[in-house]
């Protein structure tokens, strides 16, 4: 069990690093997907460890994959809108609401 948790912790940290350092919206979305997969890995592992016959963790992982799919669809639509308006997918350029 511990190796799975260590792996998912490392993957989550890599995702956090990507979200914080990259300025391109598509790469930020890639990092968010890495973080979501780290969480899904934990859910499946705990489902295997406790009550494997109830499948609650695996159902939650499938739910998470569906949420990630809808998040990617809306996020990529937003990225295309930003690109049309600013001519780039650099998130620092989209500062219309900045005070």
């Amino acid at each position: 069990m511990t190796p799975v948790l260590i792996l998912s912790g490392i993957l989550f940290a890599i995702g956090v690093f990507g979200v914080l350092t990259r300025r391109n919206a598509i790469t930020m979305l890639v990092s968010v997907e890495i973080m979501m997969n780290a969480a899904n890995l934990n859910m499946v592992a705990f489902s295997r460890l406790y009550h494997p016959e109830l499948m609650t963790g695996q159902v939650l992982a499938i739910f998470g994959i569906g949420i990630a799919a809808s998040e990617a669809a809306v996020g990529l639509a937003l990225i295309l809108t930003i690109y049309r308006r600013y001519g780039s997918t650099d998130v620092d350029r989209a500062d219309l609401l900045k005070g």
Binding site: M1, L41, P52, A72, A73, L78
Partner: protein
């Protein structure tokens, strides 16, 4: 050390390496392709944890759907030019934060002293089918509503003004 332990380490190294490369590379296309390899390796981990259906869903939805969607967004938005990284001050702070978070998570997982994952690979599909259409039916149907809302939202966002 059994075969599944070796496979676990192999898939884990591939997943971590591809995630790191996808986050660090300056080419957007390579980042997305590395994400595809990372997702496939994580699907292998799912299979080793007796979640064969989740592994298949991961490959169908993520590698076949989301990665292709990202490639289309890349095709429609930018060319394959180099993408600048953030400034060095922000990068140092971010790597410090990521190191701290990763170290904390690894330390907590070692300290938790959880029992080992039981071996053996029974197929989870019959149990999962009963759970999805029985006890967890609300989550299953709700997921469909969320996906519909997301598709309508995406369509209304990218709709061109001329229509």
């Amino acid at each position: 050390m059994t075969a599944s332990d070796v496979l676990f380490v192999v898939f884990g190294v591939i997943a971590a390496g591809c995630a790191l490369y996808g986050v660090l590379t300056r080419f957007l296309l390579r980042s997305i392709v590395a994400l595809g390899a990372f997702l496939t390796a994580v699907a292998g981990e799912f299979y080793l944890l007796a979640a064969d259906f989740v592994a298949m869903v991961q490959i169908f939805v993520y590698v076949g759907g989301i990665v292709v969607l990202m490639l289309f967004a890349l095709m429609l938005s930018t060319s394959g030019e180099r993408q600048p990284l953030a400034g060095s001050d922000r990068r140092g702070f971010s790597s410090l934060l990521a190191y701290a978070l990763g170290g904390m998570l690894v330390w907590a997982s070692i300290g938790a002293k959880l029992p080992a994952v039981p071996g053996g690979l029974p197929s989870s599909v019959p149990y999962l089918g009963r759970a999805l259409l029985g006890e967890q039916l609300f989550a299953f149907e709700f997921l469909g509503v969320i996906l519909l809302a997301a598709v309508v939202a995406a369509l209304s966002l990218v709709r061109s003004e001329r229509l």
